[in-house]
C-alpha cells in the first residue's frame, strides 16, 4: 500500500496550490450602502440597523440603537408620518415594512421594561439654554446632555411636550407614553423651568450665563381667515381647540361642527369634534383630496370615524347655525377658483385649521437673528445669524412634523457641541443610496405586511382611547424580518454559498465574510446574487 500505482504515482496534491485568483480582472468588495429608510428619516434614525437587531429578537439593543438618534420611539411610533415607509424598497416588492409599528413596539417595550437612556458624557463645562420643550427642544436637550453639556430647558406651558401634548389628540398619542418618554429625558439631569416664557433671549442667556441656546419655540399662532360672520357664529381655531383638550373642561362645539382647512390639524380637529359628541363633523377644503396636505392615514381614519369631507369648497359666510359655501374649480395651474355656485350648510360651530405661525418676539434683541416669513432663518448647521444660537422645529421653515423637529434637535445639539468645542462640524459622509435596482429581490420571501390593528370606529367616537393598536411581539418580529436590509449585509450566506470557487470566507455570526483573493476569479456571481446589494465589483489594479 505504500507504493502508489503508476496511474497516480505522481502523488496528486490538492488544487489549493493552484492560485486561480490571478485570473481576476475585477475584484468584489463588500460595502455598506445607505438604506432608503435611513435616508428618508428626518430624525436620522438608523432604521435598517435597529430592524436588523429587532429581527434577531434583541429588542433592547435595537432600542438602544434607535435612541442613539431619537429618544422618543414610543411617541414617534405613533405620530410619525413615516417617510421611511414611503421610501422603503420593499414597497416596490409587495408592501413597505411596517417600520413605524416596530418602532412603537420597541418604544412601548422600553417603557414597560424601564430601560434607561444612556448615561451623559462627563461634564463639558458648557451651559446651553433650550427654549421650548416640544419635540425639537426635548431632542436637543437629550443630545446635548449626552454630550456632557449642562442644559436648562425653559417651557412657557405648564407641562413638557409642546405640540405633542397641546396639538396631538390623546387618541393618537396617549399621554402615558408621552410622559414616560419625556420623563426619561429629564431624568438625565436637566434643569427644567415650566410656565416660563422667554421674552428676551439675549437677556436670558446673559442672566443664566449660557454659552449657547437652542430655540424650539414652535408655531402656535393660528392663522385667521376673513370670513363674513355674524357675531353669533361660534368660531374657534384648531390650535386652541386641541390645546383646550388638555384642560379641565372640554369645549362645547355643538352637534354639527365644520372644520375649515385640509391639514393634519384639520383632521385632528374634526376627529376630536366627533369624540366630543358632534354627530356631524364636516371638513371643508377648497382644493381636492389630492392637493390636501393632510397625511393619508389621518384622512383615512377620519373618514372611518364618520368625518365628512367637502372638497373644492370655501366658506364665504357664517351665521348662527348656518354656513354658506361656494364651490370651487381648479384652474389649469391647479389653483381653486370660485364658481359662484353656493351651498348652505348647517353648523353649530366652525373650527379654523388654516395653519400656524411662530411667535419669535424673543429674538427681538438679537439683531443678527433673521426672521423671514414668520420663521427663523438658520444655516445648514441650524445656527441663526447669531453665533451660538440655534433654531429648530416649527419655528424654522422646516417641515412641521414631530419627526423633523426631533431630527433638528439632534442636529442642533451636534452643531452646538461642535461650536462649543471650537471645532468644525463634521458631517458623516453619506453612503451611496441602496436603490431597488441594486437588490436581488428574488431571495426575499413573499411576506405581505402585517396590518396594524386599529380600534373599531364605533368605539372611537365616544372615547379618546388610542386608535392604533400596537403589534404583539410575534407581529413585530415578523415585520422586522420583512426588512430587506438594503445595502447592508445581513449574513444570508448567499455569497458564501454561490461562489463557484469557494473564495468567500465565512467569518462567523456578526462578523460577516471576506473574499479569498487567492481563489476569487472575479466572476461577480456574489454581487449578482447578493440580495441586499452589499457587494461592488471594482477593476483589479494590475
Amino acid at each position: 500500500m505504500n507504493e502508489l500505482p503508476f496511474a497516480i504515482s505522481l502523488e496528486v496534491g490538492s488544487s489549493l496550490a493552484n492560485r486561480t485568483g490571478s485570473w481576476r480582472v475585477e475584484r468584489p468588495r463588500y460595502l455598506d450602502r445607505m438604506p432608503p429608510c435611513n435616508d428618508a428619516c428626518p430624525a436620522g434614525e438608523n432604521v435598517q440597523r435597529w430592524l436588523y437587531l429587532a429581527e434577531e429578537g434583541d429588542y433592547e439593543r435595537a432600542w438602544r440603537v434607535l435612541v442613539e438618534d431619537n429618544p422618543m420611539p414610543a411617541i414617534m411610533g405613533r405620530v410619525c408620518y413615516r417617510p421611511c415607509e414611503t421610501a422603503c424598497n420593499r414597497g416596490q416588492l409587495d408592501e413597505a415594512v411596517g417600520i413605524n409599528a416596530v418602532e412603537r413596539f420597541l418604544g412601548d417595550l422600553a417603557i414597560e421594561r424601564g430601560w434607561r437612556l444612556p448615561e451623559p458624557a462627563p461634564d463639558s463645562g458648557a451651559r446651553v439654554l433650550v427654549v421650548g420643550a416640544g419635540p425639537g427642544g426635548l431632542s436637543a436637550t437629550y443630545h446635548l446632555r449626552r454630550l456632557g453639556h449642562t442644559v436648562r430647558l425653559v417651557e412657557a406651558s405648564s407641562a413638557l411636550g409642546g405640540m405633542m401634548r397641546y396639538g396631538i389628540p390623546k387618541y393618537r398619542l396617549p399621554r402615558a407614553a408621552l410622559d414616560a418618554e419625556v420623563a426619561r429625558i429629564t431624568e438625565m439631569g436637566v434643569d427644567v423651568e415650566l410656565g416660563t416664557p422667554v421674552r428676551d433671549l439675549a437677556g436670558a442667556m446673559r442672566a443664566g450665563g449660557f454659552d449657547a441656546a437652542v430655540l424650539a419655540v414652535g408655531a402656535q399662532l393660528a392663522h385667521r381667515a376673513y370670513i363674513a360672520a355674524a357675531d353669533s357664529a361660534r368660531v374657534l381655531d384648531a390650535v386652541s381647540l386641541l390645546r383646550s383638550m388638555e384642560g379641565e373642561e372640554p369645549p362645547a362645539l355643538g352637534r354639527r361642527v365644520v372644520v375649515y382647512g385640509g391639514g393634519d390639524t384639520a383632521m385632528d380637529a374634526a376627529r376630536t369634534a366627533r369624540r366630543l359628541g358632534a354627530t356631524d363633523a364636516i371638513v371643508v377644503y377648497r382644493r381636492t383630496r389630492e392637493k390636501m396636505p393632510a397625511h393619508d392615514v389621518e384622512v383615512e381614519e377620519a373618514a372611518e370615524e364618520g368625518v365628512v369631507m367637502k372638497w373644492l369648497s370655501t366658506i364665504t359666510q357664517m351665521e348662527k347655525g348656518r354656513l354658506v359655501l361656494e364651490k370651487m374649480a381648479l384652474d389649469e395651474h391647479g389653483f381653486p377658483q370660485p364658481t359662484g355656485e353656493l351651498e348652505v350648510l348647517q353648523a353649530d360651530s366652525v373650527v379654523l385649521a388654516l395653519g400656524q405661525d411662530a411667535d419669535l418676539s424673543l429674538v427681538g434683541g438679537l439683531e443678527d437673528v433673521v426672521v423671514r416669513h414668520g420663521a427663523l432663518e438658520v444655516g445648514d448647521d441650524l445656527m441663526t445669524g447669531h453665533p451660538g444660537v440655534f433654531g429648530v422645529g416649527d419655528a424654522t421653515s422646516a417641515e412641521r412634523t414631530v419627526t423633523t423637529a426631533i431630527g433638528q434637535g439632534k442636529a442642533a445639539a451636534r452643531a452646538a457641541h461642535a461650536w462649543l468645542s471650537g471645532v468644525p462640524l463634521e458631517r458623516p459622509t453619506r453612503h451611496e443610496l441602496a436603490t431597488f435596482e441594486l437588490l436581488n429581490t428574488w431571495y426575499y420571501d413573499d411576506a405581505p405586511k402585517t396590518m396594524r390593528r386599529r380600534l373599531e370606529p364605533a368605539r372611537r367616537t365616544g372615547t379618546f382611547d388610542e386608535v392604533a393598536v400596537g403589534l404583539d411581539e410575534s407581529d413585530a418580529l415578523f415585520e422586522a424580518r420583512r426588512c430587506l436590509s438594503c445595502g447592508n449585509c445581513f449574513e444570508c450566506d448567499n455569497c458564501f454559498g454561490v461562489c463557484p470557487d469557494n473564495a468567500v470566507i465565512k467569518l462567523g455570526t456578526g462578523r460577516r465574510y471576506e473574499f479569498d483573493f487567492d481563489y476569487c476569479k472575479g466572476c461577480g456571481i456574489c454581487l449578482q446574487e447578493c440580495p441586499c446589494g452589499a457587494i461592488v465589483m471594482e477593476p483589479e489594479e494590475i
Binding site: 500505482p5 503508476f6 496511474a7 497516480i8 504515482s9 505522481l10 496528486v12
Partner: protein, 421 residues
C-alpha cells in the same frame, strides 16, 4: 480434482475458487458458458460474497470491473472478439489505472465478415492495451492460468487477460484436474489493493496527466510489465509447489534441443503441433516446438534462450496484420535481434479453419526443405482467391467479397470445420 469437464466449466470453477467479489457478464459466443456457470454459482449461494452483474454491453462489463477493482474488490469478466473490441477503450483504461482485473478472452475472429469461430485476431487487437496476456495450450492450463492470473494481477497491479481458444478449448470436454478451493486458498492471498476508493483515505484516481509526465507514466507501465516477467515465473513455480502441477510461465519449449526446425505458436494449436513434432521425430527429423505462454509482456529473453542456435523457425499464427504479416513473428524476430532469414510466418486457422496434422506435416517438410516462403497462408484456396481477384478486376460492381468466395467454393451448407483439409 480430476474430472472430465468442459473447458468453460473448468475455468468457471477455478475462477469461483478464487472468490471474486464482482463478476460482470455480457453474452458473446464462445465465452458464455463460463459466466453462465459462475452466475449459477452466485445465484445458488455456492459463491457467497460475490455480485454477478448482467450489464448491457462489454464496454460496461469491463467498466463495472474497473469500478469494482478500484473499490478494492476482486473483479472478473469474460469476453471474445467484437466484445473485446467494444471494450477497447476500457481495456486501456483498466491498464492505465493499474487495476488488477482478470478477464477470460475466449479467442474468436473479428468481423467483418462476421465469424464466431476461433482465431487470435481479438487478442492481437488488444496487444498494446497494457494488459498482461497469457495463452492457454489446453483446458488444464486454461484453468490453472486463471488462478495464477489473479495472483499475478494483484501482485503487479495490472489487469490480466487469459486467452483460451474459443470452442476448441471453451467447448471441449476433456480431462482437467481442477484446483480445489483449498489449494487456491493456499496459493492466492486476499486482495490487497495498491490503491482503493475509501472515504477514510480519499484519493483521486484517474486524474488528468499532461505532457509533463505522460511519458513517465507510460514508462512506468512498461517497467511494471518488465517486472511482471519475473513475477509470472515465480507465480508459476509457486503454483506448481502448492498444486503440484506445472503450468503457465513465460514459454513452453518442446523438443527444441538439437532441433533443426522449431515451430512457434500460441494457444491450443500447440497440442496438434506436438503430435506433428513427435511424428517428425519418429521420422528422424529434428523438429521441436515453442509455445509462447506469456505474450504480453513479451518474454524476449526467454524466447531468445529457447531459440538459441540456428534452427529454422516457423511461426504459426492465427492472426495477422493486414498489409504486413505476422504479429507474433515480429516479436520473435525482435527477440532474435531483428529480421532473420531463418524465420517464416505461416498464417492459419483463421475464423475457425481447422489446422490439421496433415497440413502441419506439410509445413514441417516444406520448411525443412527450404520451400517455405517468408509469409504463407495455410491451406489457402488459391483458386478461389484468384477467381475473385479476376472477378473484381473485371467488374467495378463486383459485390460483396465474402459472399462471392462462399459461392465460388460451393459452401453454404453446414459442413465440418476444416472441410478443406
Amino acid at each position: 480434482m480430476l474430472r472430465q469437464i468442459e473447458g468453460s466449466q473448468a475455468v468457471a470453477r477455478v475462477v469461483a475458487a478464487c472468490r471474486p467479489e464482482v463478476v460482470c457478464a455480457y453474452p458473446i459466443t464462445p465465452q458464455t458458458h463460463i459466466v453462465e456457470a459462475i452466475g449459477a454459482m452466485v445465484k445458488s449461494g455456492e459463491l457467497p460474497g460475490c455480485r454477478f452483474i448482467n450489464v448491457e454491453s462489454e464496454f460496461s462489463a469491463l467498466s463495472v470491473a474497473i469500478g469494482a477493482s478500484a473499490t478494492g474488490a476482486r473483479a472478473y469478466t469474460a469476453t471474445a472478439s467484437q466484445g473485446l473490441l467494444f471494450m477497447m477503450e476500457a481495456l486501456y483504461n483498466a491498464a492505465g489505472l493499474g487495476l488488477p482485473i482478470v478477464m477470460t478472452l475466449a479467442n474468436r475472429a473479428v468481423g467483418a465478415p462476421i465469424n464466431i469461430w476461433n482465431d487470435h485476431s481479438d487478442a492481437m487487437a488488444a496487444r498494446d492495451a497494457g494488459w498482461i496476456q497469457l495463452f492457454a495450450r489446453s483446458n488444464q492450463e486454461a484453468a490453472d492460468l486463471h488462478a495464477q492470473a489473479f495472483r499475478l494481477a494483484e501482485e503487479v497491479s495490472l489487469p490480466v487477460m487469459v486467452c483460451m481458444d474459443g470452442f476448441i478449448l471453451t467447448h471441449a470436454f476433456e480431462r482437467v484436474d481442477v484446483a480445489t478451493r483449498e489449494q487456491i486458498e493456499a496459493f492466492l492471498p486476499p486482495f490487497e489493493p495498491r490503491q482503493v476508493l475509501d472515504p477514510a483515505a480519499p484519493v483521486s484516481i484517474g486524474a488528468m496527466v499532461g505532457p509533463e509526465a505522460f511519458e513517465e507514466v507510460r514508462y512506468l507501465a512498461h517497467a511494471r510489465h518488465l517486472d511482471a516477467l519475473g513475477v509470472i515465473e515465480s507465480v508459476a513455480e509457486e503454483f506448481a509447489e502448492v498444486v503440484g502441477r506445472k503450468s503457465g510461465g513465460l514459454v513452453a519449449p518442446y523438443r527444441t534441443q538439437d532441433a533443426e526446425l522449431v515451430v512457434i505458436a500460441l494457444g491450443s494449436v500447440l497440442g496438434t503441433i506436438h503430435e506433428v513434432v513427435d511424428e517428425a521425430r519418429d521420422r528422424g527429423l529434428r523438429v521441436g516446438a515453442l509455445g509462447v505462454t506469456t505474450f504480453r509482456p513479451f518474454p524476449l529473453e526467454a524466447v531468445r534462450d529457447a531459440l538459441a542456435g540456428d534452427a529454422r523457425l516457423v511461426v504459426l499464427e492465427k492472426a495477422f496484420s493486414s498489409g504486413f504479416g505476422g504479429v507474433l513473428s515480429t516479436d520473435i524476430a525482435m527477440a532474435l535481434g531483428g529480421a532473420t532469414a531463418r524465420l517464416s510466418t505461416v498464417v492459419g486457422g483463421l475464423g475457425g479453419r481447422a489446422i490439421t496434422e496433415t497440413s502441419l506435416r506439410r509445413v514441417v517438410d516444406d520448411a525443412l526443405e527450404g520451400r517455405l516462403g517468408r509469409l504463407e497462408f495455410l491451406d489457402l484456396d488459391r483458386a478461389a482467391v484468384e477467381r475473385e481477384l479476376a472477378h473484381m478486376a473485371g467488374d467495378r460492381r463486383s459485390g460483396p467479397i465474402a459472399e462471392n468466395v462462399l459461392r465460388a467454393i460451393g459452401a453454404g451448407t453446414a459442413g465440418i470445420a476444416g472441410r478443406r483439409a
